[in-house]
């Protein structure tokens, strides 16, 4: 430990800590471009120059470790002049690009200008031009003109992923950061360089121009992409999720995230199941005829059509968009019938490792306690690729949560989750005559899925709680729209057994509801006194990792 003062404030920092980190401890910000805590020190941007007593020249704070009795000043005139000078150099050839630059709003140059510069341009010569809008692969777009040569991206590929993919080319004011010839960015972790880039030189193709960053609202959440459960912020605006960005959590993902995870928000915006759908022998509004997003209008239309349908002769079995009230009534009716005639054993419940712990627990309790279900299956997604860094093969963020839910919900009855393949087998063998499915699909081969869909037509009830449209949803007797991870609060339990909280981002899309609420309403419809245990959440093992709040 070393004791020093920074701007007159006493700091105690471990030996080897650099001045940037030490200053952070007392709330003093030292501006940096090239410094990043996870990367090696380059000390090449010179933005972090600070004055240290007894040192003749200004020193780069990122490279200077703390020492006993050091007296550091970050706000002296010399430092300010140096900062403004560095800014002036950096901006000398910077294009006037803010209007078309995606970084505007989270750009270090903009932020630092307002704090450390605030002077006008003195240059009277033209700017050096370099290639713009270069697609360098990996979903990253490079604009060389905007680059401040901090080399964070270069060091990232050198040090974190270990495959050097970028480098500096040319010299002097012609210097450019770029990829090696004919070798576009590759690998599963390219997106991180976009986060690393302090300016708008590297932008993320998927996000480019979709939304201005200052419009984005942020919700702390967990990536639904795999069982790692990387901590992310869901960045959204006006009911649409625009991107996921990694959130610092040393225990899980440090500050990184894979490209696959970055894309895992897309199902929130696209192909959503917006309304409850019932497959009925009545004429009414088919799902195909109704694409309107305005729920009030839709509700009125549905009501009208339903009234009409009531007075007509039965028609073919069609998927009909109905109100929640009606959908729950139909589902309740079907379930009651099955329970009455064949008992709870004839009902299979597929739990979803895509849904939260709370949702799964509610379903388990409802099914086991009230319907007498014994057959629980594990749904979710099929395994994919994994690697040694972050990605895991299990593409479900909450498999451990499902198991925990089963344990908590039905521990005394010795229930266990069987595989999804068992569902297909049990349905085909006629063991099950009703299915309650959480999730959009089953983790089975396309062939097995087709068999299930055709077999499902023989079942008395297929009640699917899904967020998106799928063939399973189309085969359901009652399809109930459920909320995605971005729309609800809850807990994911990752592969390491950490309970991590999700915070709600966007408002519920369409008429979707969290599964907990769906089950609660369904139970009420069936006449059960069912309350999903709220307190259980607090009582769950508190192994939440730091940062996962």
């Amino acid at each position: 430990m070393a004791k020093l003062t920074i701007n007159g404030k006493d700091v105690e920092a471990a030996a080897g800590t650099n001045l940037v980190e030490a200053a952070k401890q007392v709330g003093v910000e030292i501006p940096v471009f090239c410094y990043h805590p996870k990367l090696s020190i380059a000390a090449q941007c010179r933005m972090c120059l600070v004055e240290v007593e007894k040192m003749p020249k200004l020193v780069p704070a990122c490279q200077t470790p703390v020492a006993e009795g050091m007296v550091v000043k970050t706000d002296s005139e010399r430092v300010k002049t140096a900062q403004a000078g560095v800014m002036e150099f950096l901006l000398l050839n910077h294009p006037v690009d803010c209007p078309i630059c995606d970084q505007a709003g989270e750009c270090a140059l903009q932020d630092y200008y307002m704090v450390y510069d605030l002077t006008g341009s003195r240059s009277t010569v033209g700017k050096v031009h370099k290639p713009k809008v270069q697609d360098i692969g990996g979903g990253v777009v490079l604009d060389s003109e905007r680059c401040v040569m901090c080399s964070r991206c270069v060091r990232y590929f050198d040090e974190i992923t270990g495959d050097a993919q970028m480098g500096f080319f040319n010299r002097g004011d012609r210097v450019e950061v770029s990829i090696f010839p004919d070798s576009p960015l590759h690998g599963e972790y390219c997106g991180n360089v976009v986060d690393l880039c302090p300016v708008g030189a590297l932008t993320w193709k998927d996000f480019r121009f979709k939304c201005r960053v200052w419009f984005l609202e942020k919700a702390a959440s967990v990536c639904p992409g795999c069982a790692r459960g990387c901590n992310v912020t869901v960045e959204h605006n006006e009911g649409k999720v625009f991107r996921l960005k990694p959130r610092d959590n040393e225990a899980v993902n440090q500050c990184w995230m894979c490209d696959e995870g970055r894309a895992s928000y897309k199902f929130v915006n696209e192909g959503r199941l917006l309304d409850p759908v019932v497959r009925e022998e009545k004429k009414g509004v088919t799902t195909e005829t109704l694409s309107s997003q305005r729920s009030e209008e839709r509700k009125a239309y549905v009501k009208k059509e339903e009234a009409k349908a009531g007075s007509r002769e039965p028609h073919t079995r069609k998927a009909v968009v109905v109100t929640w009230e009606r959908a729950l009534a139909v589902a309740a009716e079907q379930l009651v019938k099955v329970v009455a005639t064949k008992g709870g054993a004839a009902i299979g419940v597929v739990l979803s490792p895509q849904a939260t712990l709370e949702d799964n627990r509610a379903v388990v309790r409802f099914a086991a306690d009230h319907l007498g279900v014994t057959a629980f299956y594990m749904g979710g997604r099929l395994d994919g690729e994994g690697d040694a860094f972050l990605r895991l093969a299990d593409k479900n963020p909450n498999r451990a949560g499902v198991l925990a839910a089963l344990e908590m919900g039905a521990v005394a009855r010795g229930l266990a989750a069987r595989t999804a393949d068992d569902v297909v087998a049990d349905v085909e063998s006629g063991k099950l005559s009703a299915l309650i499915v959480m999730g959009n699909n089953l983790p089975v081969s396309p062939d097995a899925r087709a068999r299930l869909v055709s077999a499902a037509a023989r079942l008395d009830a297929v009640i699917v709680m899904a967020s998106n449209r799928s063939e399973l949803v189309d085969a359901a007797t009652v399809a109930l729209p459920s909320a995605t991870f971005a729309e609800k609060e809850g807990t994911f339990v990752n592969a390491m057994g950490m309970h991590q909280k999700l915070r709600r981002g966007i408002a519920l899309v369409g008429r979707a509801l969290p599964e907990t609420q769906i089950v609660q309403k369904l139970a009420a419809k069936m006449g059960f006194d069912f309350r999903p245990a709220r307190e259980a959440s607090a009582a769950s093992p508190a192994t939440a990792a730091p940062g996962a709040h």
Binding site: P95, V96, C98, G105, Q110, D117, G120, S121
Partner: protein, 404 residues
């Protein structure tokens, strides 16, 4: 209690069932300025009790202030007292500048004062004109409106709009005055004064008008102070409190003007004070034009004012500055400040709290009429139904700043 009751009963018929009439006036009464509800208990034509219900024009100014950037609030401030938007803008701008410690250029100060005083004249013209109209003198009202029109045109010339001016900015004003504007102002003030002479001749000394205004809506000096009166309503009771004199702000200390005060605190006093204040405002404007300094009209502090367009288009420094000010807003350092100015109806105060972000944490408005409206029942009691609206007009309630 019992004595006046029997004294007032002319028929002396004790067994005649009599009860006071409860009358709801408003909120959609045609002559209520803005929407407000009065519940009256009437004894014949005489008002025995009154109750004021406000809030019908609540538009959430203060809440909107919390979700807008500092400069966006000007667009809402315009709509507080919609008769004198410039005065509201001045009050708000001064509050923000006080908190930030921004220096406003001389010329901007003068332009602000001129625009504000024009607004004040407009407000008073509306008030005295509407007052005449409420007494049935429709022609007089239209004359006042005609005079006001001359001035609205000036506001339109300098700010682009008549009512929703959005002219001031933190640190200065939007643009310098257009060429020839000073001449136009002097001309318009002369024209307006000519029209107002006719107005004055039509009503001021007419006995019907005098009788309707004199001794109506009286408030005593002590009561006025106790209720928190400010502006013409306070001055009508004989107290010469005008913030422009008492706590000079902007550049008011450089101008020579008088504060008109009344004696009785009745509607006639308030009417005469407004009439006289129009004259005084005219004096201020003329002095301001005579002493108008040159220079910029908006602060050169890059933390406050948008940079000029030329550099924005062509240099990254100004472009970044511009961007930060646009999407972040002006970063006002954390703190709280109360700033007050003399609006047309009295003390317009802004209590603003900043948390260091680009948006106000809180914008509290002390609308002058809010305090005065509390005393409306007191001023109405004992008067007649026909006195309600003139008294109401004497207060010059503007629902925009009352309900906010």
């Amino acid at each position: 209690m019992a004595t006046p009751e029997t004294a007032r009963d002319p028929l002396d018929v004790d067994d005649l069932p009599m009860e006071p009439m409860v009358l709801k006036m408003g909120p959609s009464h045609p002559t209520m300025h803005g929407v407000i509800e009065l519940t009256l208990r009437l004894d014949g034509e005489t008002v025995r009790a009154a109750d004021v219900e406000i809030g019908y024009l609540h538009r959430g100014f203060e809440k909107m202030g919390e979700v807008s950037t500092w400069n966006q609030v000007f667009a809402y401030a315009d709509r507080l007292n919609y008769n004198s938007p410039m005065l509201n803008e001045l009050g708000y701008a001064m509050a923000v500048e006080k908190l930030m410690g921004v220096d406003v250029p001389e010329r901007a100060q003068f332009l602000r004062v001129i625009a504000s005083e024009i607004s004040r004249i407009c407000d008073h013209l509306t008030c005295v004109g509407a007052g005449a109209m409420e007494l049935g003198a429709f022609t007089a009202f239209l004359y006042a409106v005609k005079a006001r029109e001359f001035l609205y045109e000036l506001l339109e010339k300098i700010s682009g709009h008549r009512l929703t001016v959005n002219y001031m900015r933190v640190g200065g004003v939007w643009l310098d005055m257009p060429d020839g504007w000073d001449g136009a102002v002097r001309q318009a003030l002369t024209d307006a004064a000519g029209v107002m002479r006719e107005f004055h001749k039509l009503v001021t000394r007419h006995r019907i008008f005098f009788d309707r205004m004199e001794g109506v809506g009286i408030i005593s000096q002590e009561d006025a102070l106790a209720w928190g009166f400010t502006g013409p309503c306070l001055r009508s009771t004989g107290i010469d409190y005008d913030i422009r004199k008492a706590h000079p702000y902007s550049c008011y200390d450089r101008f020579d003007f008088d504060i008109p005060v009344g004696d009785k605190g009745d509607n006639y006093d308030r009417y005469l004070i407004r009439l006289e204040e129009i004259e005084q405002s005219r004096r201020i404007i003329e002095q301001a034009f005579d002493r108008m300094p040159g220079g910029p009209v908006v602060s050169s502090d890059p933390r406050v004012a948008l940079p000029e367009k030329g550099p924005v288009y062509n240099t990254i420094e100004s472009m970044m500055n511009h961007f930060k000010l646009v999407y972040d807003g002006i970063r006002v350092p954390p703190g709280a400040v109360y700033s007050f100015s003399e609006a047309a109806n009295g003390e317009l105060g802004f209590y603003i709290v900043a948390d260091g972000t680009g948006k106000p944490y809180r914008v509290r408005v002390r609308g002058p009429v809010f305090a005065i409206m509390q005393a409306l029942p007191q001023m109405l009691i004992g008067g007649m139904i026909a006195d309600i609206v003139p008294t109401f007009d004497g207060i010059n309630m503007i629902a925009g700043e009352l309900d906010r």
